[in-house]
């Protein structure tokens, strides 16, 4: 009998728990702001976020902010599904390359009016390349939150010494890079590691090479593909040449695998974003490493590709003003610096962040000011896939560089035409 009472009380308790969880938040005078973000791994960062949130509450006690964080591999899918189903969050960060897609689908709203009225959020406060990445058909659809640049040239000074080279004089041009890599390559170590992997990141590398050579992926108004131009062809030829000085298996390797080759001491130089510094410190604390600028072609510039996240407000949000207040706060100079895991998009915050947390802050800063963003096209993922297939074909030797790029250009033109003929 007593056992029965125990069972019943447990069941009741469980039932109450369930109901409590299902009931959700409370209604009242407060506005609830749903914010979706990417998952942060570092404990420090999570703490910093909590503190920032506290500050926000003090400033705006009537706004109740609820964070939901997602791991990267499901983030875009969940956002799209929620937005399409009509219950998106109020605010979220989106990867720069998703911004046009969301804007074109009408999921997010233009923010020009908010910016005009705001004192804190102004174009000059942010890196130009990041700000412009949020433009779509002349309107601004996002405010940059954090940025990264592909790529810096990380190098292992021991490799230089072993090859009889001066570790304080890393290569600057493409030819120098190739020569140095060649000298470093022996039986079981290599100058650098190439990779293609499965995601979008490889385009950041190939685009950077093309940008540095004065070329581009699409033309100025994003209506025609320019990958079959000499600038792009030369860039990809250089990329292919590097195959000789890299460990086999480059097509299926991911950037993570390849960076591990660098931290494990198997390759001497590696192109990666500035966020990799934390990884090196953790995985190879003994390594004598440094960063320098992305190599440039003779007579060209060292230009990287922008990566990063913008903050957007959703069309279906009932609390757009509150959302804007949050964005102002989150991207402001003091807060932006503390809560980003990548480099803050706010220029002043970035300077301070880089000084404190990164080696070679000047080089990183310079790269961030000259970097270019990837094409603004709502179906960018499809475009990226065509580029990736071309890169794969080139590396596998299935097509020559000219052929592969010509075919890619045709396919991309087709993609562009299809899209623009049905949407305008």
């Amino acid at each position: 009998m007593r056992r029965g009472v125990v069972v019943i009380s447990i069941v009741t308790l469980a039932f109450l728990l369930l109901v409590a969880n299902l009931a959700g938040g409370q209604e009242g005078q407060k506005i609830t702001l749903n914010v979706w973000l990417m998952k942060q791994a570092e404990v420090e960062l999570i703490k910093a976020q909590e503190e920032a949130l506290q500050k926000f509450k003090e400033l705006y006690p009537e706004i109740d902010v609820k964070f939901t964080v997602f791991p990267y591999n499901e983030y875009r899918d969940k956002l799209l599904v929620a937005a399409a189903a009509g219950n998106p969050p109020d605010v979220s960060v989106v990867d720069q390359i998703w911004n046009p897609e969301f804007a074109a689908a009408g999921f997010i709203i233009p923010l020009d009016d908010f910016v005009a009225k705001s004192e804190k959020v102004k174009k000059e406060n942010y890196f130009a390349g990041a700000w412009d990445s949020a433009l779509f058909q002349g309107k601004l659809y996002g405010i940059p939150f954090d940025v990264g640049v592909w790529a810096l040239n990380y190098y292992n000074k021991d490799f230089f010494r072993r090859a009889g080279l001066d570790p304080e004089k890393p290569p600057v041009t493409w030819d120098e890079f190739y020569e140095v890599a060649k000298k470093m390559t022996t039986e079981n170590q290599w100058g650098t590691a190439l990779w293609v992997g499965k995601g979008d990141a490889i385009q950041c590398i190939t685009d950077a090479l093309i940008f540095s050579n004065g070329g581009s992926v699409l033309n100025e108004d994003f209506t025609k593909c320019t990958l079959d131009q000499p600038a792009a062809i030369e860039a990809m030829k250089f990329f292919k040449k590097l195959q000789e000085v890299n460990p086999p298996g480059e097509v299926s390797r991911t950037e993570e695998d390849s960076f591990q080759l660098f931290t494990a001491g198997k390759v001497g130089m590696f192109w990666y974003g500035e966020w990799g510094q934390d990884t090196i410190n953790a995985r190879a604390p003994e390594m004598d490493w440094a960063c320098t600028n992305f190599p440039k072609p003779e007579g060209g510039e060292s230009i990287g590709t922008f990566g990063g996240w913008n903050m957007v407000i959703y069309e279906k949000s009932p609390s757009k003003d509150a959302a804007w207040k949050f964005i102002e706060f989150w991207t402001s100079r003091e807060i932006n610096e503390r809560v980003s895991s990548l480099t803050p998009a706010n220029v002043e915050a970035a300077k301070s962040f880089l000084e404190k947390k990164r080696r070679f802050p000047d080089i990183i800063f310079k790269q961030l000011t000259t970097a270019l963003y990837r094409p603004i096209f709502p179906k960018y993922p499809d475009l990226a896939e065509i580029q990736r297939n071309a890169t794969t074909a080139i590396l596998l030797g299935e097509k020559s560089v000219e052929e592969a790029l010509k075919e890619a250009t045709e396919e991309i033109d087709k993609l562009l035409n299809e899209y623009y003929s049905t949407h305008r």
Partner: protein, 279 residues
């Protein structure tokens, strides 16, 4: 057998046992080894199994402050327990009727239930998702609990029916002759005898729902409600995977199911095989 033949026999046995154990344990050793390694030992060239400076920092990080692991653990517990209890409640009565009672269509429905056990989840996940979406059940605990019923009920019914079949009919018949109703005979005599089988079925269903991934990935959005299999992907970042923490979390997840299974092994296999041999 002569002494030397016996030795040879044991040598052969232990050699095979060793090979089998190594095959089985190797990946598990990799998992535990990685969970005890600090980042600078995780990916070295050449790689090695035993960490030179083992550390518990991964484990501390996984269960420590700021980690959602305990929350995910509780969620998994809640969903698995709730759905299993519901299934047992339903299956207890249903499988008794399939085992003992006669009614028109009994065999038809039983076969239908068996068949549904074999349906691919992929065939219904899309529809289930749309239905849940329309009922605004997405991102609730109930969505998972209900979804898990789709594959738990058939298995539960099948297993329990096998256990019921193992109880001789005479017991209930004797009771009914003495004046019990069918229900009383069922509740007071047969069900207590089934208890070990109930335990085994509970364990098996719990164990299956504990590790379920596809539904959990699709139906749950907010962190607060995620279950463990989905939650471990928190350690897979955009550019980097935190293998140390991931493996520590994995080791922790394996422990409860392994213990549970050890306890109920005997009964469970009995139920499964009785079904296999007798049909």
């Amino acid at each position: 057998m002569s002494k030397s033949q016996k030795t040879l026999y044991f040598v052969k046995i232990y050699f095979l046992a060793f090979v089998l154990a190594t095959f089985v344990l190797f990946p598990i050793m990799v998992m535990v080894s990685m969970s005890l390694k600090a980042p600078d030992e995780q990916f070295t060239s050449p790689p090695y199994l035993v960490p030179k400076r083992p550390t518990l920092s991964n484990y501390l990080h996984v269960i420590g402050r700021g980690s959602m692991f305990l929350r995910y653990f509780l969620n998994s517990l809640l969903v698995a327990a709730a759905s299993t209890v519901i299934v047992l409640g339903v299956a207890l009565f249903s499988s008794y009727s399939y085992a003992r009672l006669r009614f028109p269509g009994r065999d038809f429905f039983f076969i239908l239930i068996l068949l549904s056990q074999l349906f691919p989840l992929a065939a219904i996940i899309v529809s289930l998702y749309r239905i849940m979406s329309q009922l605004r059940m997405i991102d609730t605990y109930w969505s998972l609990i209900v979804a898990y019923l789709t594959f738990s009920v058939p298995v539960g019914v099948w297993l329990l029916r096998n256990f019921f079949l193992g109880i001789p009919k005479e017991l209930e018949e004797a009771a009914m002759i003495d004046g019990c109703t069918r229900f009383m005979a069922f509740w007071k005599i047969v069900v207590p005898l089934i208890r070990p089988g109930l335990g085994a079925t509970f364990a098996y269903l719990f164990f299956v729902t504990w590790q379920e991934f596809m539904f959990a990935l699709t139906f749950i959005t907010s962190e607060a409600k995620r279950t463990l299999p989905v939650g471990i992907f928190d350690y897979v970042g955009q550019y980097e995977t935190n293998w140390g923490n991931l493996m520590a979390a994995s080791s922790l997840i394996c422990v409860p199911v392994f213990l549970l299974f050890l306890f109920v092994q005997q009964q469970l296999v009995g139920g499964l095989t009785r079904g296999a041999v007798k049909g």
